[in-house]
């Protein structure tokens, strides 16, 4: 097998980047034969999953809970960054595996398989046009996601972050209707606007001040802070530029792109705007806080505290808006805005326990929210309904879909036995540990709000009689049902077996100086 030998030569993180890219080419070539094309998508998704799992098992010591396993930060040949290109001296595109990125890559690659299956059911069920472009852009978006997950420095992260905005734009504008094109404009405008206007400025300023953009425990600012070339207010300004520059984290008031993106076909909303794109945002936030700024630098200058209050406000305001949305996808979108700020608020508390909560919630929210979106798309495909007020009694017609929806709902609220409970547990512990009563208040209020805007949907679906004029319909096509049940099962499974995410989260903790 000559081909496979060549693959062995390629470092695995690069392989993770290349496989979806090659997959996109294949999909393009097979565009005329839909079955082959979808086969290529699935094959790529499975291969990618294999590669990412390979990276995971290759670096994690099989003995979970044991003493420090693979140390990501000790400079050895195997942990050295893989340099792809050097644009300018010191400015390079390079990849490196570290535990937080591993969490993100694992989730994205796992859910891509289910999402591909789901896409096939959805795109065919709704007879969407331009399906080849859709699958190509999807694969390219996943390639960008892998790039973000394995970026070794801030510059690489920025490049892949921008590529992700660009490759998802055609997916949002997919329908090509004036409404879709307008929403896509909002989407791109806000994401690229914040990243070019604020994040890039912060990035260049960081390089200007420190001459170093590498992610490393403790961050790049310790030296310049110690010798006085960087003052606390400037560090605070930089922190502001990064936090608002990462528009994908949807911190209020730059969250509007996320509801706008809901115009896209549901698989896009599900994988990209519940998992890949928004998680790219919060992942970048957490990564920047831990590995670029360094918790110690932020604590010593007290420049990060405002983020707790802004994120807290985001959580509550977004939840309140969600209460009044009748369009199901929009309600989910606002719920996402609020859930993303959970991760931001956890990271901004800067304590080891809270950082674990941030990493765990990246995983937990991903499974829960993709289930909810899958269910929404399933309803749209089978019943052509978009609004919550039309969902009376739909649980009887679509028991699997709505059962999965209920599980997703429970995870959002944080009820056991679902994944959401675990991350909320760590979040509360972190808030307790650091003594931020404000965070505790926010968590309590938001849990109530979550229940208030999700449970009525469940109640409506199962306990209200269907309207008389309802046209009869059953469940959605089988690929959709399989996918939605699988993610719901994943949400529950993560409660019972959180080991993988937990082990990686512990690794992050151990890496802290």
């Amino acid at each position: 097998m000559i081909q496979l030998e060549i693959l062995d030569q390629v470092p695995p993180p690069l392989l993770a980047l290349l496989i979806p890219t090659i997959g996109a080419f294949l999909i393009g070539l097979l565009g005329r034969w839909p079955n082959l094309r979808e086969g290529a998508t699935l094959l790529t998704a499975f291969t990618l999953f294999g590669v990412v799992t390979g990276i995971y098992t290759g670096i994690i010591d099989p003995g979970y809970w044991s003493a420090p396993a693979a140390d990501f930060w000790t400079p050895t040949a195997s942990t050295a960054p893989i340099v792809l290109v050097e644009m300018l001296p010191g400015i390079e595109l390079s990849l490196k595996v570290e535990p937080l990125g591993m969490v993100y890559a694992m989730i994205a690659s796992t859910l891509w398989i289910l999402n591909s299956l789901y896409s096939i059911g959805y795109m065919r069920g709704n007879k969407e046009k331009h399906q080849t472009r859709f699958y190509i852009c999807f694969a390219l978006a996943i390639a960008s996601v892998m790039g973000i997950a394995f970026s070794a420095n801030m510059f690489s992260l920025f490049v892949f972050y921008e590529l992700l905005s660009l490759t998802t734009y055609p997916l949002v504008a997919h329908k090509g209707t004036p409404h879709a094109v307008r929403s896509a404009r909002t989407y791109l405008g806000l994401l690229v606007g914040t990243s070019v206007g604020l994040l890039l400025l912060g990035l260049i300023a960081t390089w200007f001040i420190t001459g170093d953009l590498t992610f490393k425990p403790g961050g790049v600012f310790t030296q310049v802070l110690a010798d006085g070339t960087l003052t606390a207010p400037v560090l605070g300004l930089l922190f502001f530029l990064y936090m608002y520059g990462i528009g994908k984290a949807a911190l209020m008031p730059i969250h509007r792109w996320l509801p706008a993106a809901m115009v896209a076909p549901t698989p896009v909303s599900a994988l990209l705007h519940a998992v890949a794109v928004v998680k790219a945002g919060v992942f970048s936030v957490v990564k920047v806080i831990i590995y670029l700024f360094g918790t110690a630098s932020l604590v010593s200058t007290a420049s990060g505290e405002w983020l707790i209050y802004v994120a807290g406000a985001s959580i509550l305001i977004a939840s309140c808006i969600a209460l009044f949305q009748d369009n199901l996808k929009r309600r989910l979108a606002y719920s996402t805005v609020s859930q993303l700020s959970y991760i931001t608020i956890a990271a901004s508390m800067l304590s080891p326990m809270a950082l674990m909560a941030a990493a765990m919630h990246i995983a937990a929210h991903a499974f829960g929210k993709i289930t909810l979106f899958f269910a929404a798309g399933s309803i749209y495909t089978a019943a052509h309904k978009k609004n919550i007020s039309e969902l009376d009694g739909i649980g009887r017609r679509m028991p699997f879909t709505m059962g999965a929806f209920t599980i997703g709902t429970l995870s959002m609220i944080g009820v056991p036995p679902t994944a959401g409970f675990i991350s909320k547990w760590y979040l509360v512990s972190g808030a307790w540990e650091t003594g931020y009563d404000f965070v505790l208040v926010v968590i309590v209020c938001s849990t109530l709000l979550n229940a208030a805007y999700f449970l009525p949907i469940v109640y409506r679906a199962f306990f209200k009689p269907p309207p008389d004029d309802d046209h009869p319909h059953g469940e959605a096509p089988w690929p959709i049902v399989v996918a939605v049940c699988a993610t719901a099962a994943g949400t529950v499974a993560m409660f019972f077996y959180p080991d993988v995410a937990l082990e990686l989260a512990l690794q992050i903790q151990r890496g802290l100086p």
Binding site: M87, E162, A173, I204
Partner: protein, 503 residues
């Protein structure tokens, strides 16, 4: 008897100007081979400038005394890294644009004028190269007039003798002549004070004057030159000649002029402000920093906003060009190594991107007949390569990472930070945001609208148009991924410029 080889190598700098000059004159005589002739000439000039560049890159500067007159009396050519780089850019773009010109000119200009077209075309290139290579201030003016007059003529040849092209050309003629006479006056006053026309000697004389900043004549000369140069490089608010001139000129002319003419204007500003007046006079004693930065920053924003409102893609790009001149001016006005390097590197990067984009629009005009937004609709399917080039160029204008535009922004923002101006840094990036908006109008039209009218039947443009376009856009991508060459050269040239004086 001097061996031929030696004759060439000894007179290399002179040949850069003499070859296209003679070529231009002879182009009227070569019959229907005018295009081939021009391609050969521009190709050879490119090789000459490349040789010069490598020579200058390795050693110190190069000096050449025309007719062996000592430099204080005769005309002297001086080549350092700065103008060797600009020469390389101008001749390279001119070569690619000449290849591109063949079909475009056949399409847009009556056959009986082709010889005149190429003759004037080569003379314009002669002027641009001459301004860049000479070390004599008056010589700059002479060659400036050669290039300006020929460019007025080229613009007036707009498609089907479009009356709008004629008025655009006339407007450029009037404003351009005002600019040129201001420059002439400035040079004249300098001659009065220093008694010399040689740039290096002028600088030495000015340095020797202890109260140069008190001397009215010098101050007036400085003011005239600053305004005249700003007009020539189309710095906001003296840019009003540019948008229409670019819009209605023949496609090949727009591509060539947009990529080179204003850039040579910027080069003149470098020479006058840094080499003749010197860093201290221009940026410490005079308020040039504030004047230039404010014009540049306001220009970036206002022309960006104006570009958004355009319905003709060519005009949109023309306004964008004025904004890009703002970046270049802001960079060198900062007068620190990163800023000047950013400015220099952007001269090349913008020339490649914008030249390529104008060529792509020329290809659209060739197939569809116009460059309005509605002509671009659905082009992504009909003319994928051309549309791809426009998209890649647009990403460059935005400053997307992995394009040359990013490298420029990288240095310019660092220059602004080094100058302590967060506001300017933010303005530069805000300009990128405006670029996102106006570029996206084109991208949306090309990929998310259904074609109508002639676009619906259009097929990909011929390779003679597409390949030169792809070459320029390809360069802008290549130098975005591996910027060692451009950025390294720019940094070295900037470092040599800042202490002041010709090396």
């Amino acid at each position: 008897m001097i061996p031929f080889n030696e004759l060439i190598t000894d007179n290399l700098p002179a040949l850069v100007v003499v070859l296209p000059l003679l070529g231009g004159l002879l182009a009227t005589l070569v019959g229907r081979f005018a295009w081939l002739w021009s391609t050969i000439i521009t190709g050879s000039v490119f090789l000459l400038t490349y040789t010069l560049f490598t020579a200058v890159q390795a050693g110190p500067g190069m000096r050449y005394e025309f007719g062996n007159w000592p430099y204080l009396w005769g005309i002297e050519y001086r080549i350092d890294l700065l103008n060797a780089f600009i020469l390389l850019v101008v001749s390279g773009i001119a070569f690619i644009a000449t290849i591109y010109a063949k079909l475009s000119v056949e399409d847009e200009i009556p056959a009986d004028r082709h010889n005149f077209f190429y003759s004037v075309w080569l003379l314009a290139i002669t002027g641009l190269l001459g301004i860049t290579i000479t070390g004599d201030a008056f010589n700059v003016y002479v060659l400036l007039e050669i290039s300006s007059l020929t460019i007025y003529a080229l613009i007036a040849m707009g498609k089907d003798r479009d009356p709008r092209a004629l008025t655009a050309s006339l407007r450029y003629l009037i404003l351009g002549s005002v600019g040129a006479s201001f420059i002439l006056l400035g040079i004249g006053y300098l001659l009065m004070v220093t008694g010399t026309l040689n740039m290096a000697d002028m600088h030495a004389q000015l340095m020797a004057m202890p109260e140069a900043t008190q001397n009215r004549t010098i101050l007036v000369a400085f003011a005239f030159l600053l305004v005249g140069l700003s007009l020539k490089m189309a710095l906001f608010p003296l840019h009003t000649w540019l948008p229409k001139a670019y819009t209605y000129a023949p496609s090949a002319v727009t591509a060539m002029v947009a990529a080179t003419a204003t850039k040579v204007g910027v080069y003149m500003a470098f020479r006058f402000l840094f080499t003749i007046f010197g860093y201290k006079f221009t940026f410490v004693d005079m308020p040039s920093y504030h004047i230039l930065i404010i014009c540049a920053a306001v220009g970036i924003i206002i022309t960006g906003l104006t570009a958004i409102r355009q319905t003709n893609a060519k005009k949109l790009l023309a306004y964008s060009s004025v904004g890009q001149i703002g970046y270049i001016v802001a960079g060198f006005a900062l007068a620190n190594p990163q800023g000047v390097a950013g400015s220099l590197v952007h001269i090349f990067n913008h020339a490649a991107m914008k030249g390529g984009m104008f060529m792509a629009l020329g290809a659209v005009a060739y197939r569809v007949g116009g460059t309005n937004m509605k002509d671009l609709r659905g082009l992504g399917k009909r003319m994928p390569l051309t549309a791809g080039c426009i998209t890649a160029g647009a990403l460059g204008l935005i400053g997307f990472p992995m394009t040359a535009g990013f490298i420029s922004k990288w240095y310019l923002v660092q220059g602004a930070l080094a100058g302590g101006s967060w506001l300017l840094a933010f303005t530069i990036l805000f300009g990128s945001l405006l670029a996102v908006i106006y570029s996206w109008k084109m991208i949306e039209a090309m990929y998310f609208r259904e074609p109508e009218g002639k676009t619906a039947e259009a097929t990909e443009a011929p390779y003679m148009l597409v390949l030169p376009t792809m070459a320029l856009i390809g360069l802008s991508i290549y130098f975005g991924i591996n910027a060692e060459f451009t950025a390294g050269t720019a940094l070295k040239a900037a470092a040599a410029l800042l202490p002041g004086g010709v090396q």
